[in-house]
Symmetry: C2
Subunit: 107 residues, 2 copies
DNA sequence: TTTATTGTTTGACAACTATCCAACAATGCT
DNA sequence: AGCATTGTTGGATAGTTGTCAAACAATAAA
C-alpha cells in the first residue's frame, strides 16, 4: 500500500478547495465519494462523459487541493474524501456543499 | 434607485457560486460585505491592489453568480451580500465560507 | 512471457481568466 | 457649461483550464 503525496491539513487553502469544487465533473466525483465511500478511480469516474485522461487530471486536482486522499494497492488507486481534515480546517463547508449536491444531480 | 440585473434565487448555480468565491480578491470583497454590510464599489474595492477596472470585472462576476445585489443611487453603486437568497438556496454554505475567511485575512 | 487492466503523462488546442490601460458614460457639483 | 467622481467597457496580453488522443508505466493474470 502506497500513499500518494497530499497537502497537510494545515496547508489546505480555502480558495483552492472552492476552485476544485467549482467544476461539475469534480463536484460529481466528490459527491460520489461522499455517498459511497472509498472507491477506485475507474469507479469514481464512470460515465462522467469525459476521457479517462481528463478524469485523471481531475483526480490530481482534487488531491492537490486537499479534498481527496489517494492510496495505491496493486494496480488500483483508491480515493476517499478527506472529510475529517476538511471539517477541522473549514467547519461545515463540505457538508453544505454536499447538501446542495445530490449524486447524479444537476450541479 | 435602479436595480441592476441579477439571477433569480432559483437560478443561482452552485458551481458558479463556488467559482466566484475561489478568487482571493472576490473572496475578500465578499468578506467585507459580510462584515460591514452594504457599501459602494469604491469602498468594497479599496486597497485590494488591483486596478479599478479589474475590480469592476470582479463586481460583475459576483453579481452574475448571484452573490451580491447591486443597486444604483445617483452616481454610486451599492453592493450587498444576498445572504438570505444564498441561505435559502444553499443552506450553510456562505456561513462556512465566511467562517474560514477573516476580513483582510490570509485566504 | 504475453496480455489485459488501470491509470498517468505529454502534446495540442480552444476557451476562459485576471490583469492593466485608455477611453468612455453617467451623475452630481460649482 | 465645465469639472470632478464613480464605475463600466473594450482592447491587449499573459497565464490558466478543460478536453481529447496517443503513448506510456505499473501491476496482475493467463
Amino acid at each position: 500500500m502506497r500513499l500518494l503525496p497530499h497537502p497537510a491539513t494545515d496547508d489546505i487553502q480555502l480558495t483552492e478547495v472552492l476552485r476544485a469544487l467549482s467544476d461539475p465533473i469534480r463536484l460529481e466525483i466528490v459527491a460520489r465519494l461522499a455517498t459511497y465511500g472509498e472507491m477506485t478511480c475507474t469507479v469514481a469516474g464512470d460515465s462522467l462523459g469525459v476521457h479517462k485522461s481528463t478524469a485523471s487530471h481531475h483526480y490530481r486536482t482534487l488531491r492537490e487541493a486537499g479534498l481527496v486522499l489517494t492510496k495505491q494497492e496493486g494496480r488500483l488507486k483508491y480515493m476517499s474524501l478527506r472529510r475529517d481534515d476538511l471539517e477541522a480546517r473549514f467547519p461545515g463547508l463540505l457538508d453544505s456543499v454536499l447538501l446542495a449536491t445530490p449524486v447524479g444531480g444537476h450541479a
